[in-house]
Assembly symmetry: C2
Homo-oligomer: 469 residues x 2
Amino acid sequence: MPADILGKLAAILGPSGLITDPADLAPKLRDHRGRYAGAAAFAVRPARVADLAAAMALLYEAGVPMVPQGGNTGLVGGATPDGSGREVLILTDRLRQIRAVDPAGDTITVEAGCLLAEVQAAAEAAGRHYAVSLASEGSCTIGGNLSTNAGGIHVLRYGNTREQVLGLEVVLPDGRLWHGLRALRKDNTGYDLKHLFIGAEGTLGVITAACLKLWPRPAGRAVAFCAVSDVAAAVALLGRLRGAAGEALTAFELIPEIGLGFVLRHMPGRRRPLAAPSPWYVLTEIASQGADQQAVLEAALGTAIADGLVQDAAIAASDAQAAALWALREDMSDAQRPEGASLKHDVSIPVPGIAGFVAAAEASVRARDPGVRIVCFGHVGDGNLHFNLSQPLGASPADFLARTEEFAQLVHDIVHAHAGSISAEHGLGRLKVEEITRYHDQVEIDLKRRIKTAFDPKGLMNPGKVVRQ
Amino acid sequence: MPADILGKLAAILGPSGLITDPADLAPKLRDHRGRYAGAAAFAVRPARVADLAAAMALLYEAGVPMVPQGGNTGLVGGATPDGSGREVLILTDRLRQIRAVDPAGDTITVEAGCLLAEVQAAAEAAGRHYAVSLASEGSCTIGGNLSTNAGGIHVLRYGNTREQVLGLEVVLPDGRLWHGLRALRKDNTGYDLKHLFIGAEGTLGVITAACLKLWPRPAGRAVAFCAVSDVAAAVALLGRLRGAAGEALTAFELIPEIGLGFVLRHMPGRRRPLAAPSPWYVLTEIASQGADQQAVLEAALGTAIADGLVQDAAIAASDAQAAALWALREDMSDAQRPEGASLKHDVSIPVPGIAGFVAAAEASVRARDPGVRIVCFGHVGDGNLHFNLSQPLGASPADFLARTEEFAQLVHDIVHAHAGSISAEHGLGRLKVEEITRYHDQVEIDLKRRIKTAFDPKGLMNPGKVVRQ
């Protein structure tokens, strides 16, 4: 790295725009789950997009590799630098303006460093709804959401983060700015560049701002917690509710008894919503403009109980009850922690294949190690399961974590055989960058490399993530 | 072209797989509107994807430029070969299998040559709904819809063709096959290749099949025809109906009195739906799973009339009445033909800017030529207007057509000043490939060229369309 680069960057970025103190850098050099730790020469922390562009032009010219980081809540090591100490972190937390809220046009224009919860709140304040919701919404940034195409609990109705985007502003690796911040619902003027940057995990440039869709605020919602005897019954119930409620079906989450048990054991104040335990549960929500959500849900579940598809169901009678039901689902991931080490598999399967996949994956895991506790839950409405494995009771956490690759291959091979994806909503990052080459064919790998090379010929943007050059 | 290439292609494609007779080729060498005419050495017409891949490998190796063509209903010359006679047409009409309909997974997998209407019908037969609907649905192909990211009348609710796509199968320029035919709602495994091919107008490869989303069939619909005094009132009404009906608002179309007059004059059997003429009308539709569409629409329009926002409204009391109201909108384009030459501008504007855009564009056109008859209609709910100009009464059609570029620049400069797009749903094709460089900055042009070169280094795929290399 050129000796004078820090001085030049300081002149561009101002006194708060550089972090060089190792103590200040330290928390940004580890990922959220503590799986990866790296080093960084320093971090740039621009307050304005133009400053970031100037800084990146300088770094690119000097051949310095750059790693963008938002809220550092990612689960695949995508925002953690390598161990070389050569890489420079790019922090977006000062790019935090909500530039415009336009309720008439149903759009909001925000900078990358805005927290997801801040964007949700700004939309609500304008009488609108920003549709992405996920567990880390209080600490993850919109820039990170965009770069990982974040999913969450309402994809069934509103789509992923990708589907919310009308326009982007991006600093390219060489510091040039792409002015793609459009607010148009229809624009067919050549290749859709924004979709390349969404989900690219910062390997093609740094997203600095986005124009996002807003939705009407649902007038009300109905939430139910249902007992079903198996995964096939859950999938059948999904079909029925979609038939009854159409797009108003907003969430459809699968929960296993073991996961509910972990929540009840470890999370204070939670209580069992149904009298009798059941192997599986479904948490579902209908939200719409009309006032009939409760009636639609009651009627559909009444029929499903009469038909034996659902064994029991509790419909929330108040917002507080709805929140209590949702808390059971939201705690599912955290409640695994006190149970020891866990191996997480964020997979998706075409919905009709879900029951077959779960049966096959359970059988394979049990055949490999009957002590492993399978905690399979998630967004069945989108075909997205978190097929998590908690360590055998009493086993060593380190021994179980050492089997990460073994179980990943076992589970992911079954995912692949069911035409699924080994990364539904978390991305590839560093964790799966090699593994994906086992499942994608050579043509796809080649096309992705060509894109990477076309946009980042020097390979300086978040190297070693998503695609190896 | 190598002398023996026809023989090799015949061996691959079989007796019906090549068209060499000039009489058979002729209808495929002109575009739908008769603006472009070209020549082709011959056409390949594969019955199987593997045959197309083998043929393209041969053509690529020989350096032969290729022009894909679906239903030949495009409006920008994107499927018409140039005049050199060197280009070869690739016809998809024999790739016409509906490979799978999966109502449980809400997907349909179809080959590129299927007509849009065939896909709609297959979805209906399975109790589902394919959401794209447009005037040429009886003759346009899904491959063409995908390659132009076709819009239509229900984008407001369901999005463009792009938003319907889960996976694609594509033959690359060099004949390799990309197996991207996934059926997943969530898949974050690197750059999203499908979004590059969608809307690329065949310049990056030939889409051969797609896995598309299906939707629940709406249980019923309510359709109304409303008189409003100006465009601002129409936009205000859009906001109100979206507030009342949420995503159930399925269509919101602006119609001018002059356009309605053309339809009543030229299209047999049409009648005026409201007693008194009005400068502008809105045709709107609400469709949902519930049974309350009619009530929601009546209540919202009742309030709007009481507030003076709407002057009068007719709500269809039967499917036949709804169809009659829709016919007025669907005939709008054809009804311009008997009025002489017309210049069409397919533009989009952020919704809050629509009234300002229409006022500015009308004033500029009138200042340039007061005799020009402005027929501005379209999908206001998506910000998409067809700002069409019919020739002055009694003027020469040829003289008016000679002013195509003059009026395009006049209208498109105003679009650009209103942060709009000069091609909302028709694409760039050959018509706007140069013009777009006036409105896109150098960074965007450069990125698009890099993509083109990365995917098609020899420049053989639909040359001269979308982007100039």
